[in-house]
Structure formats: structure tokens, C-alpha cells
Symmetry: D2
Subunit: 423 residues, 4 copies
Amino acid sequence: MPIDPIRYVTRVDLDKPGDQQPQVHNRWHPDIPCSETIKPGEVVKVECLDWTGNQIKNTDTADDILNVDLSRIHYLSGPFNIDGAEPGDVLVVEIKDVQPLERQPWGYCGVFHKTNGGGFLDKFYPECAKAIFDFEGIHATSRHLPHVKFTGLIHPGIIGTAPSAEILKEWNERETKLVNEIQKDYETSVANLPLELNAHSGSATGELAAKIAKEGARTIPGRPENGGNCDIKNLSRGSKVYLPVHVMGAKLSLGDIHYSQGSAEITYCGAVECCGLITIKTSLIKGGVEESSLKSPIYIPGDLQNHYGPSRYLTFEGFSVDEDGNQKYLCATTAFRQACIRAIEYLRRFGYNDYQIYMLLSSAPIENEIAGIVDVPNACTTLSVPMDIFDFDIRPEAEIIKRDMKNCALVSNAKHEIIYKFK
Amino acid sequence: MPIDPIRYVTRVDLDKPGDQQPQVHNRWHPDIPCSETIKPGEVVKVECLDWTGNQIKNTDTADDILNVDLSRIHYLSGPFNIDGAEPGDVLVVEIKDVQPLERQPWGYCGVFHKTNGGGFLDKFYPECAKAIFDFEGIHATSRHLPHVKFTGLIHPGIIGTAPSAEILKEWNERETKLVNEIQKDYETSVANLPLELNAHSGSATGELAAKIAKEGARTIPGRPENGGNCDIKNLSRGSKVYLPVHVMGAKLSLGDIHYSQGSAEITYCGAVECCGLITIKTSLIKGGVEESSLKSPIYIPGDLQNHYGPSRYLTFEGFSVDEDGNQKYLCATTAFRQACIRAIEYLRRFGYNDYQIYMLLSSAPIENEIAGIVDVPNACTTLSVPMDIFDFDIRPEAEIIKRDMKNCALVSNAKHEIIYKFK
Amino acid sequence: MPIDPIRYVTRVDLDKPGDQQPQVHNRWHPDIPCSETIKPGEVVKVECLDWTGNQIKNTDTADDILNVDLSRIHYLSGPFNIDGAEPGDVLVVEIKDVQPLERQPWGYCGVFHKTNGGGFLDKFYPECAKAIFDFEGIHATSRHLPHVKFTGLIHPGIIGTAPSAEILKEWNERETKLVNEIQKDYETSVANLPLELNAHSGSATGELAAKIAKEGARTIPGRPENGGNCDIKNLSRGSKVYLPVHVMGAKLSLGDIHYSQGSAEITYCGAVECCGLITIKTSLIKGGVEESSLKSPIYIPGDLQNHYGPSRYLTFEGFSVDEDGNQKYLCATTAFRQACIRAIEYLRRFGYNDYQIYMLLSSAPIENEIAGIVDVPNACTTLSVPMDIFDFDIRPEAEIIKRDMKNCALVSNAKHEIIYKFK
Amino acid sequence: MPIDPIRYVTRVDLDKPGDQQPQVHNRWHPDIPCSETIKPGEVVKVECLDWTGNQIKNTDTADDILNVDLSRIHYLSGPFNIDGAEPGDVLVVEIKDVQPLERQPWGYCGVFHKTNGGGFLDKFYPECAKAIFDFEGIHATSRHLPHVKFTGLIHPGIIGTAPSAEILKEWNERETKLVNEIQKDYETSVANLPLELNAHSGSATGELAAKIAKEGARTIPGRPENGGNCDIKNLSRGSKVYLPVHVMGAKLSLGDIHYSQGSAEITYCGAVECCGLITIKTSLIKGGVEESSLKSPIYIPGDLQNHYGPSRYLTFEGFSVDEDGNQKYLCATTAFRQACIRAIEYLRRFGYNDYQIYMLLSSAPIENEIAGIVDVPNACTTLSVPMDIFDFDIRPEAEIIKRDMKNCALVSNAKHEIIYKFK
């Protein structure tokens, strides 16, 4: 009984732009042609491009980060026709493995310019930065973040089913409404509406491609109806995700590999981004959506996760009083921002600059939680840094030895400050 | 060498109202007289009242929840004079143990009426409910939540140092400003300002007591400057918390014991609330606030935590599209509310009603996280239910057997719905 | 509904010899009178003496260890009549909690003299030593083992049901046979046969007491038929143990509290021994012995265990080549002895002496395993030391700073070597 | 900065016998020529054959197991010259990753015939059996062991440095002595002495090859001086092992990939055996052997291990009373054998036969420990079965549903019993 290697349903080319590869696409739309069919029960392998489609290079400047073209991102592998899937079914996807591509053993974390993508702390850190991570098997290190080494909890940032036409319409309407109402108050985009420029609809051509480009939802946000770009770091190897099916064949797409990510992925280009290889197995729960009241994806994590013991985390608290001293009302987003700021201020004492720490908090296996959401007016959140990723003791009682922490990659001839003065 | 038992610095009386006990207090103020002095390095025991000062009874109705007097809560043990502590120091408190009081082996979770306290989901669940938990050593069970048993990660909801006069002033100003600006838009209190009624300033009397009653900050919210009511479930046995010192002697207070709590404590009276006994040991990092940039507490959890393995959690995703279909912008609070709703809808299938599930999600060792905060416009959060607290299989693929799940305690003659129809 | 505190079925007196307390006993025999009846489903508390019945004191000499009377040990609480238990049933005991007695917040580890008890390494360490541990809530420290702190995985060393007359006969026969065959080859006792001296049969008197004293099995070994002195450190809080029932009422006994113990408990007086309080709940699986083929106890550990993450253990390997270079055949005992020796030799570099390390390996939360038992002729075992119990870095690559490690308690005017020269 | 993929220092051919591949060898000897040089700090990849050199096939009979040629095993990759390594140094090897070979996504567990290899329980199970495991990413399942799925803790069974001539001499002498003394009492080999037949000394030829064949130590046992075949399941991804260096260049060899293994690997061909790919990085601690008293390897596990939570293990106890009722003296090997027997008897109730269970206990992530080694005359050991690898509830209180458990692969026309009647 000769046993064949596992079938690849997608291969990607790292030397060719994503939009020249018909087995990937960068919009959500029910009409994108399926790239392959997968039978329930079959184990298959899916290669994936990195989320920028190879725009970022292994260099020591952040010029590529500055110039990144955000209309050309999220080239997802698929969509896959899951044999027998019908609207109303639950599609169960077991993520059997995720690996970086052997032919590219590195990844990157970036800070986008505030005018071109930004991030969670772009008010303080509007400039660009980059850190390259080298993959030594399960361990990542970075010449731009010395004295740190961690095991990646590798995962796809994006996994989702295709929306139905009705759902797609609802997405576009509600996001347009948001833009209309609040965009005027923000310097950066509050939502990305359909954009024909650089839409890539896989193997679609002609009128179909034009329709998809015009209507297709952008891939940036995760959405309740289909999952998508959830960026859940624990949706890693061995996880099982339950997705609602909205169209015939489910049309499963996935990609945006993260070698590692801190919960919340704060810099936006915020994981250790890379290309990679996912192994999946699917099954169907016929008619399961109604029975399970499944309006949004649910998942069960795998049993193979790096972990350090509960006592190995230095944990920062953040409350919903913003950085200017204004009291907010039960705002977990504000509270979490404060926890991030507290961690940045603290970690400076070891010689890192703010951009380095910002990327560290975004890409290393950082945990967070909403600890309290009812003690009016303050939400309380925490951000937990695993102490064992450093090769020195970071506890408050430890003796401080200043080390040469070098620098992250910055834009050529960058002149900006790398330490922000918080009040 | 006869060895004495560990010294008690506070004993409480479970049969007397909190405000008749001078070793406890229910406001934050720099002038509350110290109840005891503790030397750094000394291990001491502190008894604590439950947060309502014994207002809630072990019964099968929620009438006491309905009638709870929220001006008479959070009777904290202390404040303790930490020998040698000065402003600018870091007070390190090791939580050496937390136990329920042997003389009262039970606790409760409640849902307050929307007009008297409310909770995170009071829009859907405005009525009252209660669940009594029996403590069998480390295990809690509830006759109001059948087929569930869990180990409590017992902790003090509140631990904090006294504010300086300046900090107290800032608190009162910023919270007053909030009330002035937004209270008009809310049905429930957005913040609780100083209130003379039922203020209890420990052993203070006369003018001093009047001053404290007038100025003292309420204990409901945790605050960045001193910690306080953070409700961090993992700040449990073995944890070490680093608190900024603002006044001579630090004036440490603590209380609000939670036998168990789900992260976020969503029902507000939301943990398994109980009276208890805390063992602590303190130390000082002289001048540590500046050196560590310590603007808010940080902590390191202990190594004794109940845990089930990463793969034993059924995890619900929530996005910042609210329950009416409105798109919010990166609002983690909205996203987390959706995750809660998803979990409630799902768990109904086993026969629980919404009030039961609401309390379960609030009191059992539920985890959550902000998974993504940058994928505009959707924040993505998760809520994770440990599957092993149920004595049956709750996975989507499991066969459903309807069980008699009885009911939680409701108000006498309650007529309201116990299942909410979400759109 | 007033709720009573949990019922105590045993209280002990720390100031009175064990044999003056009728609620405890120190032999296994079917006829020891029951001290109390416990109903299945009832939660009860059981106080227990330390295993030596208060012979060891909190002092800085090991004279009490030298003079310990080993005929006066293991005063077990019980036996308890479990209502309705019959031979052939499985008695399920949930260990709901274990605590040290509040009135004695300390414990001890000892090394017995080779001529009076000995231990696993008495060939190298024939002399006496002692370490006193202070209990600060969940943390233990010792003035005799500086720079170490750990969380105790507290448990009863002994839990078992009474043997039937037939089983008792079998025990005595097979152990007598062993003594007859091999005692001549050993300097220390290979088994302890029934001994009338200091036998304590609880409340039995007269002829019954005499019969029990004459026939009763000693409590030193765990035995397959009833469990007994298994010294399984993970049989801690939250565990559920399944015991075969051999007599009417099961006659459950328990005791020998260990605040902490390293797996294998190598010094023999080897845990952090203490008196304590156990909370239990029982149930019965009627006729379960046959259905489950239950010839020896099985158990499911609890979910509340201290842990450090898999990567926080420095692990020593040991093989079945003995300390004189002799090749043994698949002998796990020899292999494990070598792993212990390797750990002792390694840990000396930090300034500890061998007796200190011997007790540390015996009492701290040390793990071990039989890694391989088939690679003839070598069994391979491992011994894992949690690195986080030390307040300094013990990895081979860490810089060595000699610290003042003081000494353990020794016999007054001790003159013996405290470092053994292995070949 | 183009980044090259990681360098392979060994490639293997799955279609050619091991002894035709000069980059592998199957003896320990100081003179085996190095196959490649590795610089400290360099990350390299090493392909490895399965331990039988491709003798076992993916079939449904155990004929290949019956006929296995045990003189043709353990074709190790290497030896590698570690640049700069000298006797007395410590060679630190970080196991950066271990993967099965993509081109062969399956492995096997076997029970050898008692007359040709045998195993830990060959007294009861003298016949042959086999189970094939299919690899779906991190999950293994077997058509020969239905209703079981587990995550492999993949690792090399063998990693070691070359012995010096003196050490080699010592090995051969002490193992010869054992054979001379006790072989007469055993039916199976108690040790495997040097054997010229099928010795494979890598690229050595002529006289050198003859010398190695004559003197070279067999690879079956792990040995204290150099590690070797330790079969430590947790020496997996992310581990760091410290090996003594005995010859110039260290001459590191490794292989014998186990996709998964139960601690102790009881069937002997006992892991999920497979070919694979290891990624390593080395460093040296110059002169470290003396400073660390490193007589045997030590290691620190990685932080990426599958785990289920402490309460998810059904644990069987075993004591040193053998299966015929004979009392042994502190024999951990006997005690562990009893724990294995108890687990086999218990697991039968679900429909598995003994050979299936024997292989399950050997290959799945089973834990064990020596719980007590001092309670004369009984050692107590435990064997812990992770309950979550079954898709049904295996607890004693669970309802038993008989399932079709099929059968493992047996020898063609096998007629032997598959259930052993223990007394």
C-alpha cells in the first residue's frame, strides 16, 4: 500500500505579483470562481503568500514599509469548493498544521506610516519601522530586536467562507454608513469600501471580474458573518473552526500567515508576517447553523501551544482614562491602549526604543484580556508579556544592566524621534 | 522554637453591618485612619467581608438582589500602614493565599435590576436573578446552575493604595466631567461621584469622617493611579502586585473576595462573591515608581492556577457590529458584548435560560481576549468557555440531550421573560 | 436557609501522643472500629496528624530525626464507615481540599540515619539532617535551604480502604517471604512485618486491640489492593481516586499530609511533612470493581496544580549503570538513583551541600519519569528540577555566583562529611 | 539581502537500504568518519531514516515486524564534526524543529516477536503486531486503533556524541560482563554486544570499517556517558540538550525519529516510528564538563508541547508486587509493569484487545512517574493516559458503549490469543 504525500490544492510563486496568480484572490464575493474542490474528510495542503504579496523585503530599512501599496494585499488562497456544502451547513475546518515556507525562512513586523495604514498607536508613532525575524525551526529571533527569542504560535490571520449576495450587500451598506457618519472625525480610514483598483478575483475575467471588483468586500476586517481576518493567534495548529456556510460549496478562503502574533496585533502590520503552508481537513454539520445558533464563527484551539506557566507573565494594567487624562466610559479600546503605553514605558528601561517595543508587543506571544467591563466608568484590561522570551530578567526588582539594543529598521535617513514623551 | 500562627490584622463580623466595623471602610481617601501597621517582610492574615457587607442571603429568591443598597458596598479591610513606605516607592504585595471563610462556605452571583446597578447586558436582561454557589473545598457547584462544577481561581477584586489629595482631586474632577457630559445619554449611572450617604471611613469620627464622606472617591471603578477594583481574576494566590505609593505608609486596602470570576465579570455582581481570608506579605522598592515608570499597577500571577489545557475551551468570536447591525469603529466593548451574546445563544441549546448563562459567563473561569484591534472597522474579541466545567459534552458536534436545568433564583412572583429574542 | 460550616469527622490534638487519640490508628486491619460514618455525597473535613505524630520539632538540630521512633508513625484518621459500601464496590473519594493546619504553619523534611529508617541514598548519606519549612500561604521557604521558594502541591501521602482478612493474610505472607529470602543481604529493613509494639488500633481495646496489634499490616508501603501509602504528589486538591472496597463500610483511612513532595520522595522522611486538614466527598460505584477490573487504585488529578511551563525544568538523565560502574539490566530503580546523583553533583556548584540537595530533591515539586524501559540493558530515567523555585539562574550557561547557602539542621556536634565523593 | 533556505547536512534515500548510504551509520565508535562539519551557531537540517532503515511497510499485516532484521537498525545521521569542539567541552544542541518527511506522511508502532526483539511485556504478548499511523499535520490516527487521535510530541529517539576509545572499551567490558553473568537466566538478549554483521560505519572502508565493525558499540541502549538512544519523548522541538564531548569535533549523531511516544516506549518498536527532518543549532561551553560535573546529558525541554491540563489524565497505579503475587523489593521496573497491566485490563472494557492497548500505551503521549521509591518494600509508579485522545469518555463512571474497535495488524494467519488472562 504505497501512500502518497498529501495533496497540494494551492501552490504560490514568491517571485510573481499576487494578481498574476489565479489561485489567489483579494476580495470577498460569492462569485469568485473556485480554485479547487476539496472533499470533506480529505487532508490537503495550501500554500499562501504573505499578506502583502511579497512587497516587503529582508533588508535593514523600512522604505518598503513606507511605500507599501495597501490596495494590493491579502492574496488569499482559494476559494475552495467544499463538496456537498450548502447554505445553512456548518463547515468545520481542522487546521492540521501551519508552517512557514521552507524556501523563505524569515518574516517581518512593520509599523506603517500614519498616512498609509497606521496602527493602534499611530497618534504617538506616526513614522515607519520594520523588524525582520529569522526562523530557526520553531524559534524566531530578530537582529532588530536583540535579546529576544520566542516560539511562534503560527496561524492563518484569515480564514472564512464566502458571503452570500445578501450578506455582501449588508456589509457594504453598514460600512458605507460608518464612513459617511464618522470618517470626517478621523485622519486615517475608518473602513475600506469596495475598490476596483487592484481587485484580484482569482481566475475570473471580463465582466465577472469587473462585477467582483466593483462589489467585492475588502478583506481588512474580520466580520461576524464569515470570520475572515480575525487575527486570532490561538487559531493555530490543531484548532478546529466552525464556519457558517452561505453559498453552495462554502467557498473557503484562507491566508495571511502569521509565524507569531501578540493578541490584538497592535501595529497593524503587526504579526511576524510570512508566507506559509497550511494543512487542513474539512467536514460538514448539515443544517448546523440553525441548530447551533451559529451567527459568528466559533473555534476550539489545538493542544499544541507554546506556554510558559501562569507565573511567567509580567502583566500591565490599563484603564479607560485616556492618555490626556480624559475619563472614558467603559471603553475597552481606550483601556487596552493604556496598557500598551504602560508596557512601552516600562520596557524602555532596558534600552529598547518605542518602535522596537511597539513591534515586540505586536508580534511576540503577548496575551491580553478584558479583566473588568462593569466597574463604571472604568474598563480594566491587562497586557501580559512572557518574561521568558527575553534572555535577561525583566522584573521590577531585577538589577538593570543597559544593553546595546541596536535599532529596528527605519526609513532611510529617518530623522524622527524614537521615544515619545507621554504626559 | 515554638512557632506562632500567622497574625491576623483584620477580623470581620458576619452578623453586623459593615459600617459598624471600624476596621473596614468604603471610600478612597488619604485621611482614613490606618487600622493596623504591617512591617515589610511580615506575613499577615486579613479577613474580608463580602462586597455587599452581608446583604445577600443563601436563599432561592432574588429579592435581596432587587433590594440591594449600593451605597453600602465594598467594605474594604484596612487601610494598613506599611512601615517605612513613602510616596514614590513601589509597594510590592505578595498574595500568599486567599480562602473563603470557613464559617461561610458559600457565595453568590447576581444580576442587578437595570434601575439599581444593572450590568453589561442590562439592555437585554433588566430583571434580577441570583445563583448560590456551594463551596466544597476548591470546587463550586450551584443548585441554580445544574451540571456545572468548577475550581475557583479565588482572588480579591480590590487591592489598592490610598490616593494623595491631588490624585483624589483629579479623580473627582475627571469623573464629574464625564457625568456632566454623558450621563444624559444613559439610563444607568455612568460614574458614581462622592456620596456622603453611608460613607464609612473606618475609625474616623466627627469632622474627619465628614470630610472623608464628602470628598472620598467611590470604590466602584478600578483606577490607573492606585489599582483598586480591578477585578482581575488571575490576581490570585501566589500573585505579586506592584503598586505605586502616594501617601506616607502607603495605606493599603483590600477586599471584595471572589471565589471565582469570569474575565470581565459581566453581570456586575458578577463573580462568585463571598467573604474571605487573604494572607499577604509586603515589601518596598524604594523610589521605584520613577525608575520603573510605574503609572499603573503591574503584577505577576502565581503558579497555582486551575487550567484545562489550551484545547479544552469552546471559543466564541465577537466583532464590533452591534446587536442592531450597526457598524462600530474598533470598539472592543461592542465586540466583546457580541461574543457574550453568541455564547448565550449557543448554550441555550442545552436547556439553560439566558439568566443562568449570563451568570455562568460572569462567574465561572471564563477567558477572553482582544484578538484584533486594528482591522478597521472591526475589533475582534473572543470569549472562551472551559468545556470541562460541564458534566456533558458541549461541542457543536455532540449529541444534544435535553436536561432539567431547573432555574436560577428570581424575584418572588417574577413574570418576566428569561429568554431574549435577538434579531 | 442558614448554611452550616462543613462537618469535621476528625479533630486531632497536636499536644498529645497519637496513641492517646482514639480517632486515629496506625495499622491496616479489617477489624479496627470505625471512628465515624460518612454518607456518600456528604462533604466532610478530616484533621490529620503529621506522620510522626508530632515527634519532630521546629528547631535547628536533627537530634529529633536521629531519635525518631519508627514504631510510632502514620497515625491515620479514620477508619470511616462509608454508608452503604460493600465488598466489590468502587469507593470514589474526591479530595476537595487539603490545607496545613492553621495552628501549625510549618513542616519539615528529614534524612533518617541509615540505622533508623535510612532512605534512597543512605549508602552515601547515612547521617541525619533536617530542614524546616515555613508556610506563607501557598509558598514554602526554609532557613535551611536558602534562595528557594516553591508552591506546595499539598496532598495526603496515605489514602486507602481496609483490607479484608484474606487480603491481610496475603500481605503478611508475601512480605514475610520477602524478609525471609532477602533480608540477609541488606543492612536496612526490606519490609516491616506486623509489630505489636506501639500498635494503635483506634478505639479498639482488650482482645480486639491485641488481635489487631498482632495481625495488623504496617502502614509503610503502599499496596496494590488498597492504595495506602502511595505518596503520589499529584493526588492533590481536586483529585478523584477510585478505591476497591474489601469490607462492609469500606473503612476508609487517610493521613500523612505532605505540604509538598518531589516525585519518589527520596529521603523517606521526604516530603514537607506536616499536619493538616483534608476535605473529602465520597461516592460509590456499586459492583464497580469487576466491571472496571479494578485491582489497584486509579485516580484523576485535579485541575489546580502549580506549574511552570514545560521549558522551565532542568532535567537530569540517569541510566541503569550503578555508581560503581556495574551494568544492571533494565533496572529503573538504579537508573533513577543515578539521575538523583547527577542532580546532586550539579547543584553543588551553587554552594549547597549534599544533604541540602538531597532534601531539596525530595521535598520540592520535582518531576521524574521512566523515559525508556526497553533499550537493553539500560533503563533511562529523568529527574526534572523546576528552575523557577530558585531565585537565581541554575542553567549550565549561567554565570556562577557563590552564595552563602548556610546549612541544613544536623545532629548536635555532627562531624560527618556533607559532600560525598562519587567516583 | 536574499536569504537562503537553511542548509541540509544530511539527505536520506527512502528507497535504498541504510547501509548503502554513507551519510548514516549504525555503531558508536570514535573513528567513524565525519559526514559533515557544522559551525557553532549555524542552523542546519538533518534528514533521518526511520530506525529500521525502511524495513516496515504501510500494510495490514505484521509479517514485516515478524521478519525484521535487528542487525540492520538505527542508521544514524552523522557523525558531525562540530567545529572547535574538544574533549571536556559541553556540546549544546538546540533542537529547533522536528518534522516527519513530507514524502512519507505515516509511521508505525510494532510488537516484535519474543524471539526477535521482544518488549517490556513479551511474557504475556510474545506474538507480533503492528499499527500504522497516518499523519495529518500534527495529528496522528490509526486504522488499527480506532477512536483515537493525538498530537505527536515529535523527537529524535537518539542523539549523542561519539565515545572516546576508553569509554568505548568500558562500555564493551561492562556489557560483556552482564551478558556473562545473567544471560543464562533470560530468554531474550540482555544486551547486544559488538557485532560485525551488518555494521555500517558511514563512509569508512577497508581496515577502518573492519575495526569499527569489530569494536563499535551497538546503538540499542542509551548510555550515561554520551546519551544516545534515550528515547525521551519530551526531548522534542525547542529542547536544548547538553552533551559531554569525548573526542575532537564531538562527532554528533542523531536519528530514530518518533512522531510520538509514550514514556517508557514499552513495546520496544514502541513509538510512532518514522523517518524525519531535524533542525538543529549547536554551541559549545568550553571546558564545561568539569565545571558542571556533567557525567550524563542534561536537557531543558522546549515550550511547545501538547498538553491537556493536569486533570485530563486517567492514572493507573502499579506496585512492586509482580503478576504472580511475588513481593519485590523497591523495584520500579516491576511496579511500572503492574501499572501497564492495570491499564490494559481497564481499557479492554471499551472493546480494544491487548495488543492494541499495548501499542497505544507505547506510542501515544502517555506519562509515567516513579511516585514513591522509599516505602519498603513497595515502589509505587503511575501511568497516566490522556483522556482527550479518545473520542469517547473513558472514566470509570462513564456509560460503556461497545464500539467496533477492529484489530491491529497481525501476522498472516495468526492464530494466537489477543487477550491475556492475568491471575
